[in-house]
Structure formats: C-alpha cells, structure tokens
Symmetry: D2
Subunit: 384 residues, 4 copies
C-alpha cells in the first residue's frame, strides 16, 4: 500500500498535481492528469503507470480537512446533514470548511472554516445555512480545474456534496479528473436519484403536501367539489404516489405518462354515481409546473366537469425536516465523513432496503422515476 | 307588549302568515306580508296596522326550535360555531335542526334534528359538518317564500346563518319578508364583512398562509430568490396585510390598488443593494386568483427581474381552526342562540374592539376592505 | 387440495367445529379440536388425521366475511389501517365487520357491518373509530371459546387484529384452538414487536416528541438550562433513541439499563466546560412513567446540578398520523385482507428491511428492545 | 421646554448624573438623584427644583441610542418584538444595543450593537436571540445604580424591557431613580400583567396546549378515559380557560380556587350517565406544577374514579409564535421605539380593547388573574 507523504500543485507542465508517496520504505513521485497516473522519466518524459483506483487509497488516513457544500435545489434535512458532517469531522480531528452557494461559491472562494457552534440549533431548520445554487458552468473541465486548484490551495483534502444527481455528476468529474476524494449525500425532495432508495427531504415534502391536501379536503367535502392538487417531483412521480396513498386520493396523474383524460373523467363520474361528492386527484408536476391548470381546462371544455386546481409549489421545499429526514440526514453525514476518513474515494451514502450503504458514485448519476404499479393498485383499491 | 299565542300558515290569500296574539287579555289576529302587518276588517278587507319592529318582539320567548346552516365559502371554525349553537340550544331546551348545504339544502328540505352527540369531537375540524353551498336563486323572493314555508312546516322558529355578507343578505330578506327571526354569525376567511371587526376563519387562514410563507422563505434564503406569494381574501387585503407583517415580507400588493410595478421593482433592487439576497412579496388575490403570475411576467419582461410565484390557494380555507377561531366561534354560537332566545330578530354576533356585541343585521350586509395605512407603514418600516 | 364446502358449529361433543371438505370429487367430514384434525370413525370414534397447516388452506377462497378490531393502546395510523382493510375487503367482495372496543367488544357482540362510507375521511385521524381496550380475561381459554362462537354465529370467517404483541398472543390462541384464520397488523407507538422492523404509529410518536423537544429547546437555549425530556415506549428505547438523534440531544437514558448518574453529570459538566449553555437529555420511560423526576432529584441532591424535567406523556399517542404511518398502515391493511383472501392462516403484516412481508404470527409474539449501539454512537458523536 | 445639550456622569458627590439643559437661550445645569432634580447653588449647596415629570421631556428627541433586553421567562414572539425594535430604531437613525441575558447581562456588560441583519429571519423563531434570565439582585438599589452607570457609559439613552410585571418593576425603579427613559413590552405566556389585555406569547401557548389536548382526546376517546391536562399560567387561569373553551373540555380547575373534588367527581359521573365515555379536565397549574397528580390521587382514593394526568410543561413556552403573537409583537416593538423617540418616559405598549395604547408603566406592575365567569359559563354550557 502507498502512503502519501506530500501533495503539491502542478510542478510539471501538463499535469495537475504531484504526490510524493512512500511504499515499503522507498519514495515515489507521481503525477496525475485526467484520471491517470504517471511517473517522471529521464529527459522530461513521463511514463503512464498502472496505479489503479484501489491504489489511490494512498490518501487514506491523510484526510486532514474536508469541505462540504449543498448544490441544486434545497431540501429539508440538508442542515441536519451539514451539522452531522461538521460534528463528526471535528470529533475525528478533521477540519471542516463550509463552501457557500454550491459550486459557484467554491469557484468564488466563498469558504469558511466551521466550528462546533456554527451548526448549533440547525438540525430543525429547513433550507441550508450553506446556501445553494445551480452552477451550469461547472460542466466545463476548465472550470472544474479551477475548483480543484482552489480546494488544494485551501488545503481541503476531500469534498462532501449534498445534492441531486446533477450535483453528483460534477463531483464525479472532479474526482475523476483531479483525484479529489468525494462523497455524495443524496439531498432532494424528488427522491429521483439512481442507486439509492431514499433522498433527504423526500419525507418532509410528502408530509407537507399531505398536510396541505388534508386542508383542501375540508373544503372539497364541505362544497362537494373535485380538486386537482399538483405536487412537486420534477420528472419523478414518487411524491405524487405517496401523497396519493396518504390522502386517500381518488386518482394520481403520473409524470411519465400521457394524461388519460377519459379515465379521469370516468373515475369522477363513477365516483359521483356511487355517492362520492368530493374527490382529490393528485397531479405530478412533471418537467414544468402548471399541468393541473391544463387538465382543469380539458375537463371543463371536453367533459363538462368542473374542478378546482391547486399548485402546492415551493411550500414543499421548505419547512422543518421531519424526524425521518433528520434521522437519515444525521446518519448520512456521519457515514460520509467516516467514508472519507477511511479512504473511500467516490461514493454515495445510499439507503438500500432500509439500511445505509456506501454505493459507488458512478451508480448514482442518473435520475429515476419509480412509479410503481403496486402503489397505483393500492390507490385505486382504496379509492372505491 | 304582545304575546304570541299561535302562528299558522297563510289562511288568507295574499298574506304569508297569520298570528293570533294576546295583549292585555284580548286576542288579536294579524297578517304579515312583505314587512308590514295587517288586521282583518269586515268585508274581507285588511287594514294596515302600525306594529313596529319592536312590537315584533311578540315572538319573544316563543322560540321552541331553531335551524342552523352554513352558506357561501367554508371557513375553519364553522364546526366550532355549529357545535356551540347545538349545545347551547339544547341546554336551553330548544330543538335544533341542521340544514345541510346552505340555502339550497333548505329549499330541498335537507334538514335533520341534531342531538348532543352529533357535534361531539368536531370543534377541532375544518370544513363544516353541515356542508355549504352558494345559492344564487335565493335572490328571488318566490324562492325565499318557499324557504319560509319549509321552515314553518318544519316548525323551525328561528334561523342562524353562518356565512358572509352575501349569505346575510338572504337572511335579511327572509326576515323582512317573512318575519322569521334570524341571527348571522360572520364566517369567512376574508374578514370582509361590514359591522364586525372579525369573521370566523380569518385567523386560521392567516396562520396557514404564514406557515406556508415560512417554508417558502427557507428556499428563498437558500437560493437568494424573490418570491411572490399570493394569498386569498377576494377583494379584501386583510389576509395579505397580516401575512405581510407576520412573515416579515418586503412588500404587500393590495387588492384595491393598481399594481405599482415600478415601486416593486425599485424595492427589490434597493433591497439587493443593501445586501438583501431574498425577498417575499405578498399579493392579495383580488377578485380573481392568478395576479401573481401576471406580476411575475411584467417584472421579468419589463424590469428584467426574475421572481418565483406561488398561489397558496385553497389550503387557506381548510385545516383545524386555530385556538382564536375556536374561541370566537364558540362565543358567537352561544351568543347567537341566546339572542334568538331573548327575542332579538335580525342581528349579527359581531366583534367590536375585542368584545362580542349584537349588531343589527342591516349593518353587516356590505363587504369591506380595511387595508389600513398603519399596517403598510409597519411592513415597510420593518422591511428595511 | 381440499376445498371447504361447508362449516358448522360443534355437532359432536368434545369438538369445536366440523367442516365438510371436497377433495378430488369426494367429500370429507373433519372435526377440529385444539389444533388437531380428526375424521369420524365407526362406533362414534374419531381418528386423528394428518392435516397439516398447509392443508388448512382448504379455507382458501372461502372467506366471505372478516372482522377487524383494534386492541391494546391506540396508535396513530390505526384508522388508516381500518380504512384500508374495509375498502380492500369490499373491493374483493368480502363483508367486513367492525368489532368495537377490542376483544371485550367481541365478547359483548359489539359488532357492526362496515360500508365504504363508514371509513370516509378517517385516514388522517388519530385514535381509532373502532375504539380499543385491554382485555385481560381473553387469556383464559373458555373466554376465547366464547369469542370463537360469536364469530361463527356472526358468520365472520377471519379476523384482523390491529395491536401489539399481547393482542397478537390472543389472536394466536384463537387460531390455534379454533382454526380461525387471523392476521395481525402491528400497531403500537412503541415499535417493540418481534418479527417486524416497524409498527404503525411509531413514526408519528417520534415526530410528536421531536416537535415537543424543538419547542423545549427554545426555552433551554434562552435560559441556558438542561432539560430531561421523558418519552414513551414502555420497555423499548426505540422512541427515545430516534428522538435523541433527531433533536440533537446530548444524552439518551435507555430503558433497559441502570441510570448512570455519574455519566450524565459528567456529560453535563463537560458540555458546560466546552461552552454549551443548554442540554437536552432524552429519557425512555421504561415500565413506569416518571423516571425523569427521579433523575432530576438525584442530579440535584447528589451532583448539585439543576435540571428541569418534562414528561411528554399521552400527546405521543394521538394526533394525525404522519405520511409514513398512513402509507404503511394502508399497505398493511391491504396486505392483511389479501393474505386472508389467499388462505393465509396466522400471519402478520411485517416490515422487514423496508419491504412488507407476511411473517408467521408465532414469530411476532414477543416484545423487543432494539436499543442499538450505532444510534448511541451517533448521538454521542453529534453531541460534542 | 428644556432641551438637553449634554449629559454626563456624576460630577458632584451624592448625585448620579448631571445635565446641561437649554431653555429659552440660557443654559441650566441640573443634578438628578433619587427621582428629584437639583440646581447647584453657591458654597457647594444644591437647591431642590421643581422639574416635573413632564419637564423631564427635555430628553425628547435626544435619544440617539437604545438598549433592548428580555427578562424573566421566555415567550414566543419575543424575537418578533426584538426584530421590530431593531428595525424601527435603525430606520429612525437610532443605534440599538442588544443586552443579553436580561438584567444580569446588563450588569455584566453583555451588550452588543445590533445591525439590520442581526434580526433577519428570526420573526418565526421561539425563544429569544437575546437570551433571558431572572435577576433577583436587581431588587437592590445599588445594583440598579451600577446598571444605570453601565447604560450611561455605553451611551445608551433609553431602555426597552420585554418581560413580565416583575421585569417591569425593575425598569420602573431604574427610571425613577436614574431618569432613564424606559418602555416595557409585555412578554409572558401567562397573560397576567395588569394594565394590558394581552401579553406576547399567550396565544402561542394556548395554541400549543390546544394542539396537545387535541392529540390526547384521540386516546381519551379511543379508550373511553378521563384525562386531567395541566397547563401553565402560574397564578393566572387565563391559559386554562381559553384551552378549556377551545378543546371542548368538560371542566376547568382554576388556579385561584380550592379544588372542588366533589364537583369534579359529580361532573364525571353525570357525564358518564349521559353517555359520555371520555372527558378532558383542564387544570391551571397555579404557583407550582403538579396539581393534576394530586387531583388524580384524590379522585382515585376518595371517589374511586380512575383518571390519567398529563402535565404539558415547557412545550407551552417554546415553538414558533403564532401569527397573532408575531403581529402584536411587531406592533409593540414599533410602538415602543416610537414612544422613546417621542419622549415618553415610562410606559408600556399595552393592548386595550383590541387597540395598542401606551399605558403608564406604573399601572402595569401587578400580576392579575382574570378568570372570568363568562368563560366558565361558556365551558359548562358547551360541555353538556
């Protein structure tokens, strides 16, 4: 096993960084560029060497400091994760740097060392004390090169990224190109990241939407009306399906299917024939909010059915995280730091079948939409 | 003082009802039509007599039963009021009839006697167990005549109407035309009824909106964004103003004024210059929901300011009533029954300067919008 | 495979029930007593026959009606489970009978047929519309015999019991002695039933306690005080541990360990030295509420540390169920009915590693306390 | 009218402070000691002069800075008041100093200048960012002298005290002895300050207790039990009475009356006879928490009635303030600063009949308990 003695910035043109490693007593100098390792050779040449990903574990135990950032849409529980990262790291003797406003803030050097008290009393807060942003320019390699330099200059040895699969893609590149150890913590209300069954914020978003629909049902019942309630989730129907089950909705319009107006109209009419006076239909927003307004128009114009439409909107992104989100966020933050500490390089703190597992980052770069048949069956069985 | 001995349906063509009254030992027969009283005269004639409103107190102490209905939009606390009406009446020995679905239900005879347990465990529920509706046809006198007949046939001596000023107008006519004792309980989230400082449901609607804006502010802060949040209230800005103060909003767009885009744009820009990274602007919906989408477009197209718009919608109409709404609803229900019991004929249980007072129904038939300067001053003073 | 043609009460002395079964065209008559099957033999004798549990699947498809009851302490989500049972059963053409007040109600014949609308609008309600009770007398076989007779006389073919492991024990006996198909749905806030990772109500209880501690922390911070907050869970520390993680508690006192006063005192003092001005210590109530008062006394008298004690009490048992409890309750109710419908005889709708599985009832009769080391480590790591 | 030109510390033995005033062009030097004014006279003497309280308005318009502190028990809405004080003051060009931990912090010089952003995003938070404490030593004049010196040395011209009547007493003395302009903002959940109908935090405490009782009623109903629920309020029954009305409680035990066990027992028994299966009895804690445990014992031992007791405790003191508390706190903070700015010297921002009024501090130094008959009548009328 290699052990890192020293790491420094690019000493040789064309290479990003240079390490001095020790293995069995002898010292090695290696260069790193674009995912590959080289050894200096006579006459200024470099030989590609076969230092596999596993060997990259030479950074093991050398993590003395780490940075943590939130990226993409905020989600409730991000603060609980940040708190857990900070406290766990300090407990292990690792310095922690908060990087503000996501990758944009990293590029601007908007970075501060965080102490224990900086995360006091935030476990229950929505949003994120680190702020967040979407950073499109991070898609270019030059920009990421800059980011890597900033991390090195600040002596930040590893990076924890809390966000969605887009944010993970940036982290993956940063790791591949610059050998920076990264760990992703899945944080988005949409629960749409491949490789993990759960993302921080999902439960809170569902709960907020359920509470909202409970209120709307009061009016629906009192007035014998049908309401379309549009929930968030982007291209995923996860929120819509759980909200559908939890509110006793009569129907759920999924995001990945064409709207079946005829079926919706039939369901409403059949319900009315069976004596139902009010109905709730949950609509997954899909790529762009406002679908429920369109459905309302069609139902009115083509089927002569009068419905009300509510777009719940951004209330689903905020608010104090539920117990479940705090719990999972706390566990993930703790696991993320330990993973870096133990030399894992590019992993995600995933929930698989109820257990926290470290999953390779490469498996978590896709979106997903697990609109499962069982939940639809359940909803229609219980909506009779 | 007259004392009512007997009341019956129209015995004589052209007159609605006939009472046999006793005064100082002798019996009188009087007819009532369109707000006036007549005595039978020889040859089938009738003489108009001068029985003033006060003399109409002959029905005092004769209330043996009353009906209660909810009309117009539902509001949280209506159930608490219904419970209070039912329990107070039964405690006084008065039969109570629940009239379902407002005036429409009255016309359809959708009426059931209510016992003590019918209102168990409802004080904390949103909506209304009596259901509600808007009944446009109640604007015609013939329809109201029918309604009066139904009440008489069911031996319902007085009516308690929980609703807004439109619903009160129907009650006023019913009283004027058919001498039916009515009491209005102001119930609408909009707090827009003349003659009372408060209407049941307002506090809950404000609280729900405040809770929603608290959540939205999490995202606004985390992303450094400006949000337009549209709240209910129809033509009244009451909800918008209180929500503005309670959420520390930077600006409130009132319902009764043209939108001053230039000022909004300036406020946002000035705030940004002072270092504010996020803003909340509360928009009173006015007559028709959706104003915030329009403002968003204008700010984007004419001022190049990017904002997000959220229409809170019907979540503000439902939910468990706040303590304040339960308290006031309980007091109003209690006072309404006692008012009928003590012979008041056409009053409203109003809140004036923090105290419950009985106010003539005629003073409570208008809408109102008390967008007061002080609250606007307060909002702008605290938004610096 | 056998198929049940007819079932009737005890025709022959000493045997509880008699079935007429059909197998491959021929009819069989079998008796059942104390978990074993017999065939009539000449001269009034009976031969024990080898009809295994699997063969008992002769009742498959013959379930025409089922009863559902709640037993033991109520928990949020029981109503969601009842709704799911009722709707699923009716959808499958099975009659459903609500048995009120648990086993006591069963013995009193407090049983009503439930229609679709009987479970309208209850998914969001705490408590249980079926009421519940603890029934000690159900521990005697004679009483259970009575219960079985009542079920047969009412033509109730199967029973769904929502409750804890004590309630399951009664169901197990009922099944063993009288061959009544039973399915248990784990419902208790304590999450202390062997054989399942989750019980309905646990998440809501944790959430309620977390919300309460959030409020208490406001005062703890403002006054620089230490609070002991005692949470429910009987002999299980599950609630205490999750609440500890989710509120950032400094310490958790488990129910199954002697209180280590010295450690608590040290933790408080060390925290104070590091600059912590306030602390929250979560106390699992154990067998009997009030432990926190005792700890407060000892800390005061022996360690001169002043703390406040709060016993959260029954607020943890009520309230609208969280989304998670509604979801799991809905799934469990659905699965319970399908299990009976498909001929399962004595199972529990369990959650194992995040998935719903049918587990033999016999595995779910014990209490458990999974106070796991990992969570304690997490709490102390994050409390620095 | 006098106008203050200069103020400085004690130049002459025995006097606390010295002002140089201007009146109609000529300058005056005055000393102040123990509520009286003196002019220097030849030979080191001083003549008492008749500078009335009104004349003390010489400090009018000279307020250049003010301090704000919270004292006594924290209450939800204190942060909203602090925010309002800070923003209003800065808007008027007045420097604001936060004094941490109440009068104790003042004595320790725990004082920091507050900027606009120091109060960002706190309107919705429970507790108080300024922390609070009870400071018994402030009852001695020497200690208050010290406090006055600290204020003068820090150039703090006026003081806003957010707290209860005990805290106001300290402020009153400080004003009387040292001519420091003070304004009190009533902040306590108990609503027990003479001179004002409302104190910040009361509505939130009632709401929290009502939410808790709603949850407890779920279990009470499901199990057919009677619960005693003890609420806060010290010697005031205000919280208990409102909670009683708002939860449909069957009985309220007031804090200022001997417990009438016979009546409670009768009420429970009568209720049971009328078919009530569950009851809620609200208990005002009185001077010392735990009364409900005592009542439980007596009911059990002397009347053989089994009840459960819940002490809600400190959850009532924390949590996000309700809309009403935020609104009133915002108005009071604004009014308090304007009062100082306009030269008021010793007033309280009171709510009288729904309106904010400035009331002399001297009228607000007593506790009060307005356990009014009407509310008790209402509770018993609705509990039938």
């Amino acid at each position: 096993m290699f052990c890192c003695v020293h790491r420094q910035d690019n000493k040789r043109e064309g290479f990003a960084y240079q390490w001095i490693l020790r293995k069995s007593g002898s010292l090695w100098v290696v260069f790193f560029c674009d995912g590959k390792f080289y050894r200096p050779a006579p006459y200024g040449c470099c030989h590609l060497i076969n230092l596999s990903r596993e060997a990259m574990a030479f950074t093991v135990k050398t993590i003395k400091s780490l940075g943590v950032l939130c990226s993409g849409g905020d989600s409730p529980g991000m603060n609980a994760a940040v708190r857990s990262v900070v406290r766990t790291a300090i407990g292990l003797g690792i310095d922690v740097f908060g990087i503000y406003k996501g990758y944009s803030g990293l590029l601007e050097g908007n970075i501060q060392k965080l102490g224990l008290s900086s995360v006091s009393n935030i476990i229950q807060r929505g949003g994120t004390i680190l702020d967040t942003s979407r950073c499109l320019e991070f898609h270019t390699a030059e920009i990421r090169q800059e980011a890597a330099h900033i991390l090195f200059r600040k002596h930040i040895d590893g990076l924890i990224v809390i966000g969605g699969n887009g944010s993970f893609a940036g982290a993956m590149e940063l790791h591949r190109e610059h050998a920076i150890p990264v760990v992703g913590i899945p944080g988005t209300i949409d629960n749409d990241i491949s490789g993990t069954d759960y993302t921080i914020g999902f439960n809170t978003a569902v709960q907020t939407a359920v509470d909202a629909v409970d209120k709307i049902r009061d009016t629906a019942s009192a007035h014998a009306r049908t309401f379309l309630v549009e929930v968030m989730g982007h291209s995923s129907s996860c929120i819509a399906l759980q909200v559908g089950v939890c509110t006793g909705a009569e129907h759920v319009v999924l995001s990945n299917q064409a709207v079946d107006y005829q079926k919706i109209a039939n369901d409403i009419k059949k319900g009315a024939e069976r004596g139902k006076t009010s109905s709730i239909i949950i609509v997954a927003e899909g790529e762009k909010a406002g679908l429920s307004y369109q459905i309302k128009e069609v139902l009115m114009n083509q089927y002569d059915i009068s419905v009300h439409a509510c777009v719940l909107g951004h209330i689903q992104r905020g608010g104090s995280p539920t117990a479940l989100d705090r719990l999972i966020a706390s566990k993930m933050g703790y696991a993320a730091v330990h993973a870096l500490y133990e030399g894992q390089q590019a992993h995600v703190t995933a929930i698989i079948k109820g257990e926290l597992e470290m999953v390779p980052l490469a498996e978590c770069l896709e979106g997903k939409d697990e609109a499962s048949e069982p939940e639809l069956d359940l909803i229609s069985a219980l909506a009779i």
